[in-house]
Symmetry: C2
Subunit: 511 residues, 2 copies
Amino acid sequence: MLLLRSISSTASLCQRKAFQNLLRGFASKNREIPALTKERYPVKRGQFSEVTDRDVAKFESILSGSGRVLTQLEDTQGYNIDYLGSVRGYGRVVLKPKTTEQLADIMKYCNERKLAVCPQGGNTGLVGGSVPVFDEVVISLQLMDKIEKIDEYSGILVCQAGCILGTLEEKVNEKGLVMPLDLGAKGSCHIGGNISTNAGGLRLVRYGNLHGSVLGIEAVTAEGRIMDLMSNFKKDNTGYHLKHLFIGSEGTLGIITRLSIFCPTASKSVNVAFLGLENYDAVKNTFLAAKRGLGEILSSCEMIDAASLDSCTHHFNLNSPIEKYPFYMLIETSGSNVTHDEEKLSSFLENSMESGLVLDGTVTNEPTKMKNIWQLRELIADSLLKDGYCFKYDISLPLDQFYDVVLAVRDRVGPLATKVTGYGHIGDSNLHLNVSCPKFSPELYKLLEPFVYEYTSNVRGSVSAEHGIGFLKTKYLKYSKQPESLLLMQQMKQLMDPNGILNPYKVLPQV
Amino acid sequence: MLLLRSISSTASLCQRKAFQNLLRGFASKNREIPALTKERYPVKRGQFSEVTDRDVAKFESILSGSGRVLTQLEDTQGYNIDYLGSVRGYGRVVLKPKTTEQLADIMKYCNERKLAVCPQGGNTGLVGGSVPVFDEVVISLQLMDKIEKIDEYSGILVCQAGCILGTLEEKVNEKGLVMPLDLGAKGSCHIGGNISTNAGGLRLVRYGNLHGSVLGIEAVTAEGRIMDLMSNFKKDNTGYHLKHLFIGSEGTLGIITRLSIFCPTASKSVNVAFLGLENYDAVKNTFLAAKRGLGEILSSCEMIDAASLDSCTHHFNLNSPIEKYPFYMLIETSGSNVTHDEEKLSSFLENSMESGLVLDGTVTNEPTKMKNIWQLRELIADSLLKDGYCFKYDISLPLDQFYDVVLAVRDRVGPLATKVTGYGHIGDSNLHLNVSCPKFSPELYKLLEPFVYEYTSNVRGSVSAEHGIGFLKTKYLKYSKQPESLLLMQQMKQLMDPNGILNPYKVLPQV
């Protein structure tokens, strides 16, 4: 094959382990404990009760068994700090129910007592949505990790919300299926958290979004009502499609406890190509060529700029399989016939190189080599954190203006930033703009926000493509949503959570 | 190729025309005008105002221009009778706005005056959802048929809700795209109606459902609030995903006025196979073989029983391309490479015939022949109506028990029915069970309902896979939904439509 080259030995498997540890919260000692959220950001505590010893005793009576009600600082600290180290709460109690009924009892009690609650999955969110802002009771779904059914014929997986995405991927793989989503945090993120935040990830271009894949949901509301919206069918038009209220509302309307999700048939053939390109225009046109030439087997189309790849190879001591170029693309195909897929990919790559769109590239179908190439993409986010602190923007933009914002920001912040990088899912018009620096800098923060959001709004983009709004972006919601829609959101919140106890200060702007 | 045979001359193009006329309402003289809904079914009129001449004058002032406010019986009759002739209202006025603002003005006025309203798209629904039950004001979206944008690069179509699906299909085809849904009624159904009812259709197995494909919606609520939930991105996590409230709520929470929808790249290669099989088990196993052997190019997988095909060939004077068998399957592939697709399909068919799963078959990629084969599937519903009257059930069932219900019903109703047939989207576990008879028979009705719904509920199926609940199925909603979910639906309705004026008597059971 024209482009096939051997890949120099790149990342070892231990990097994945390190990555997972990194994701697992704030155990690592070499990261600064962030300031309390209430001190760093202008936010006022709601009129909620404070947790008393009597409340703790009640929680213990609902959750019998050791390690189910955590109250010691060394146990609760990790649940109060987000993955990025950008926010920190001081919830004094962490609860770990095992069943939907236990969770419903907890919510009924908290609602009566007006105790605010923060639901938490794998705590891998990037917008401060999964940790307390003040002293909210943390409800961790960690122990709700039961896989109930994997049906290889219909492709349907039924499980509890606390299952780890990577574990589910392994289990459905054994039945010849794949999970319809894949993302860098899969080693620790929970499927319930993925659905609550409507996670996008790396394979959306092929398998669509979670509103399409999730067939049923069970959720507990703020008042402890159990909403059984489970269904095992792709077609089920029986009344309002209420499950979507819980997909992407980031735990503010209810806590997802169980789910049913459609898993596509696993591909017999997977190939990964890593390409070098001269400029962004070539990236855009290569995407179009891939869409047309690879058609139904295109399963990922990612863009990486030079600064992103440099950060990743430098901090994790990895090697790129090709020389240095201003831009790179990672293109993955998944199909049912090895020969057909290789023919399609060869033909696409030959055409792209002959036309000058692609300057260099490597392609592989060996699992270890594919994993190594994927690491170059998946570890970028973590590598940037190693600069000290990282401002992260996750925006959707029209393809014509997709990369301009990186140049504009680079120009605007100058030497205040260590790096300004852009990478992301060009196949879904989704850019990850990252600005790293030695530590949180108010000066840099002011240069970046609301600039990035105004820029995005001006080209009619989305100020949050896949990360959500959480705590950090509530005041920027207005850049993507009209007042009438915001009002309806508030009415919905009032209906579903009259006391406002469920994940307060998140998603909706404070009034 | 092993199975390739020439197809005998089948349906002429005029059948499509006839089909469209049939769909267009109740113009045809040879169909009985049904009894008024209020006489045939036990339903009580709500406390709404009645339309006065002053109201008509107000509507005329909002909608200037001729043919925009219909009040003559001969003009309004077609809008008061559903496609199946199962329900009839007596709305005395039909309104045809052209803009969202006009519609908002109408709704504000109707809400103040407490005038009930029935929104109507192409009036092709099968559950009595799109016509008045009593004297509701009909709002037809017919004149809101503007295509605003088709972007061939991102694949995004933006248009008004009254566009006809078939017209959109033609227009996006010109840009190398396809609509993500396709259904028999495409010649007259509106995209807004499709989305309001979360239509499934023939290609869901390939392109997923509308909750996944629809990127943005604009809707007008009962109070005349314009909800701008438009977005042109596949990833847009900015607050609650409210658009899904309007997808599948059948016009009871709002009227969809504009939308943005993702259209996949058109396939360069399409093939259709029509197969004969011995029994249902062979059908089920052939579906599994197709899923695995055809993988990413499988775009439709339909089952047709002998009684369904006989009805279609008889009433429309069509010929089947193969001999008579107890069961038939229509399998469509869509892909980007003609040679690859033919190889996959040949290999799948050879294996299926060698193993004895498939007894006979024909395969074609000629457009006219493919269309003729598709007609054998698409015209079944209409052919059954030609028996006089047809009870239609659209249910999702586990594949293991998929066809048993047809046998059970056939046994139960005996000679009261002209035909009891089963066909449908086996690829999505969706069966269309049809019971035809000379005219509406209360005796047959009682034998069928609630029997079919109880049967479905007992195997944990869905009592409405894709047709929705409309007016005819409200009392059966409880077979697929729990009381707590029903309560939340009612609360949602109360929030969005405090006076209950929007499509009353539909979806939610009457209290």
